[in-house]
Symmetry: C2
Subunit: 343 residues, 2 copies
């Protein structure tokens, strides 16, 4: 979901508000199947119960001129990223990817080979991280778009039963953690657009075009008892706000503890932190857990996670996120959300 503050029909309306209103309509107008929803609209993936088990469901689309530019002809990269944005939603639930449906919006001007390249990129990602394309739709469209819908199933928690992370399960006292370094993808996009010949630029650009969904790591977190998490697709601060709002908590972040992509520093210097705070599409995981669980994770997979803050209050209407700098002063991030290609 990447529509942080969309101007819809001339009204400034957040994605959150629109989705909330649409979710209410679904509840009001249609009672069929409500009992089968274990985790519904608003998380990275939905979890539904079926006759014989739980299924994860997610969908994510990419549109020409918004999420990629067809003129770049980087079709394999577009396919990879489209698969990864969906795989990352399954990773955010700690799940195992299963089956994918692909819808292609096909303009007259795009060569048929492009779609093959796109499918190569998608299949490479699914081959590496799990998941299989089993069907789809092809429709005429004046603008090229790709929609993926991906199913999965939950992995087992410490008690051996299917378990998954949600955004609303943060509790007072929890530590707040992230996987991997942040900011690489948006730094890569900025170096690409600036066309400056910076050293290390290729690594960042690769972070932008070839992100890694944290599928195995998400499953490991479930095994070790983590209940609250999501992926970082819209930027750390934006995504922290969603988690804080869902769980009704106040979160305090210690800025120096945020793992900043090291390749950013030679190019962006002190501005690197802005990429780590607000750059989208890193597809790392963000989670909270009691310190006893976090210590266990640090023992078992020490190099994979960073503790960046804690949940300092609960029962907070709409949630709250505060970032403290090295001197303990409140820090106001300078970029207000990262708008991908238009960032």
């Amino acid at each position: 979901m990447i529509l942080p503050n969309q101007n819809i029909g001339g009204q400034k309306q957040s994605e959150f508000e629109l989705i909330s209103r649409l979710a209410e309509l679904c509840d009001d107008l249609n009672n069929s199947g409500t009992d089968s929803i274990l985790t519904g609209i608003g998380d990275d993936a939905s979890v539904v119960s079926t006759t014989a088990g739980e299924i994860l469901l997610t969908t994510d689309a990419m549109v020409d001129g918004v999420h990629f530019r067809s003129n770049d002809k980087r079709w394999q990269d577009v396919g990879w990223k489209c698969a990864v944005s969906n795989l990352s939603d399954i990773a955010a639930m700690g799940g195992i990817p299963d089956h994918a449906l692909v819808t292609l919006g096909v303009p007259v001007a795009v060569a048929a080979d492009s779609y093959e390249e796109l499918y190569v990129g998608m299949n490479h990602a699914f081959d590496k991280f799990g998941g299989k394309i089993v069907g789809g739709d092809v429709v005429s469209s004046p603008v090229m778009f790709i929609n993926l819908a991906l199913t999965g199933h939950p992995s087992a928690g410490p008690n051996g039963k299917p378990s998954w992370m949600t955004r609303d399960a943060a509790n007072m006292g929890d530590l707040v953690c992230v996987t991997g370094p942040l900011g690489g993808s948006s730094g890569g996009l900025e170096t690409l657009l600036s066309k400056k010949d910076n050293q290390g630029k290729e690594i960042l650009i690769n972070r932008h075009f070839h992100p890694t969904p944290r599928i195995k790591l998400g499953q490991k977190l479930i095994q070790l008892g983590v209940k609250c998490g999501m992926d970082i697709s819209d930027g750390l601060v934006d995504d922290l706000k969603k988690l804080a709002r869902s769980s009704g908590t106040s979160i305090l972040i210690d800025m120096p503890a945020i793992p900043v992509e090291s390749e950013l520093l030679p190019i962006f210097g002190t501005e690197s932190i802005e990429h780590a705070l607000n750059g989208g599409e890193d597809y790392e995981l963000l989670f909270t857990a009691p310190s006893v669980i976090v210590k266990d994770i640090q023992l078992k997979i020490p190099s994979e996670i960073s503790v960046i803050g804690r949940v300092v209050a609960d029962n907070i209407q709409d949630g709250k996120v505060t970032v403290h700098d090295a001197n303990g002063y409140e820090y106001e991030p300078q970029r207000k959300g990262w708008d991908h290609l238009n960032g």
Copy 2:
């Protein structure tokens, strides 16, 4: 799937060819999960086996200017039809709809209320025929589009085991049948566009905007042992050709036996048959079965089906469809496929 003969990248290439090439790529590049595919790319819905039993998966998109016109502001109708096109894919497999994911491509110029109306239409359809929206995605897009992905599960065949219809199961000697009258939807569109004040026009226009997916009837066909079927979304002849190609058979259709929507006759006269042969979006079912099964169906649900032809040969490369008129002469349909809004 509604891209009968799309000009892709300057090459005249059928949807069938593009999808075949993309399906091959999926097989070549990604072995994960292949064993779990029971019915793959090319049918109305895919069938996969999971730890949770068999699941049906389908997806269908609608694009502004191609499948609807935002200027008409018939948002509830657009939502209804988008739900129905997916529900009809589940009906085509004889299945039971379960959970839906909705992706909205959101242009700046479309008012927020439109999406609410759209959701009202979708929810009305799901409330009536089964299925529940459980999640989705909202993305910026210069062109409005709606993508639905819908899951379902198979109903039980005569032996009590999960069963579903496929396009490749037609056999020599099978009778060819359709449910309900045909041509109403495309007749409705034509009267709408012509703006003539014909009597009966409102009924046809309603057929166009408010089609009915044959969910219960599809399940009944499964119970009674039908193995081969699909829905009629691109027009009878086009869809017959797909079925004939998938099953490698030659099909002979008796034109006078085709049930033509009665409201067409006063307006279109002898041209009504062209709507029945080539008009898309009727969302009736097309199936083949041995005569003993068809006789049983005629006994149990006599008013619901029409026998329109039979499978006259098998082992036919790429399949074949022939239509005979009342005098037994081969009839060449005059409209070459129905291109919906541009028809």
